[in-house]
Subunit: 224 residues, 2 copies
Amino acid sequence: MSRRSYRQYCATAHALDIVGERWTLLLVRELLTGPRRFGDLLAGLPGMGTGLLAARLKFLTEEGIVEQVTLPAPANTPAYAVTEAGAALEAAVLALADWGMTWALDEREPGEVFRAGWTVLAMRSAFNAERAADLRAVYEFRIDDEVFHAAVVDGAIATVHGPAQRPDVVVATDGDTFRQILRGEPTTRGATVTGDSSLLARLPALFDWPEARERVSPARPRWR
Amino acid sequence: MSRRSYRQYCATAHALDIVGERWTLLLVRELLTGPRRFGDLLAGLPGMGTGLLAARLKFLTEEGIVEQVTLPAPANTPAYAVTEAGAALEAAVLALADWGMTWALDEREPGEVFRAGWTVLAMRSAFNAERAADLRAVYEFRIDDEVFHAAVVDGAIATVHGPAQRPDVVVATDGDTFRQILRGEPTTRGATVTGDSSLLARLPALFDWPEARERVSPARPRWR
DNA sequence: CCGGATCCGTAACGATACTG
DNA sequence: CAGTATCGTTACGGATCCGG
């Protein structure tokens, strides 16, 4: 079909030729926490049409960023996953997330969708390996209708969607409370904790959340 | 006015709301090596229309990513520069460049534009601070019709466009030879060197260029 | 019901012509 | 040189439809 290209012999331009179009990096973000089915992806990308999602998946598959997989039994259903090249985009996605946390993310605006998965991915970039060096724990988070787990081992963290096999602690709550727990802020609505609740108190110390900064311009236009 | 937004409470999505549109990150890339005039930007972004460039600059200025500056005398001409928030995008641009160097950049294809500035920016991300710890030198590069300089001091590198004030060595050559010199490959056409030419031999050791990897898909579609 | 394919109105982009 | 104006083309967004 022949797509649009910047036609520059430049690494950044070539990267953007592949992942620079609308929705593409957000689609990759969805897959960075594990394989997803078509419908899951649609749910995580509200506003994206089915046709466009199918086209993006097709293109990214051709480009070797994404591959079709079959989820293990008993699901046995087709899904999409990142390849090694796709997983390597994590650094770029997290760099954008870091910038966004510092320079672009204020309070949640009315009408903005929130999914726990966004925060779960951000946990990777805010993770402080040193302060987690002596911790070995598996957390399971049930946020609204989403389930994630985070395994902290040897100063590393893995955040994946879906339930954990043997969680040390399970936390069920809503999205706002989840964010408050991660930041060590006082929680308003509380959470249902099952298992070793002392692990919960250690959570905020594991992350260095960037401090939000103001960009210069005083008047910022509205989105639609 | 009111632009298009993903409407997600997610750092990555907010970042892409601002810098995710076509040309925007390449425009930022241009400014990361110093202020540029409108015409310079157009020259570095072949294929971008004047109207679109003007619109992007206006939006990024409103968003506090870019600001208008007046170049110092004797130029005294209006130009654009990144603000602190714009400069902070360097990490994201370089992350994309790293990914692109590894997974998306093959040999230069016919019809692809090359500008030395792309490589000069990539020098920042390939720079190896340890192996440059004992080096203190200012390089000036005159590649085709572009002039850049790189100052290496205390294990850090600054790459800026325009001539250096007091270069230790000046290298004039073409784009392909420039890339060969940086990688320590044998050069075909040679270069004109003025000043301390021994500094040139140290250059390749200062950079760790990522090794190109193949993505899985065998058949990749053509661009247009 | 899930996973798409098709169709169509709208917004974004690209090229060029034009103005201060 | 630094943009604005215009217009044809492409990409996107939403809805509907279809096969397993």
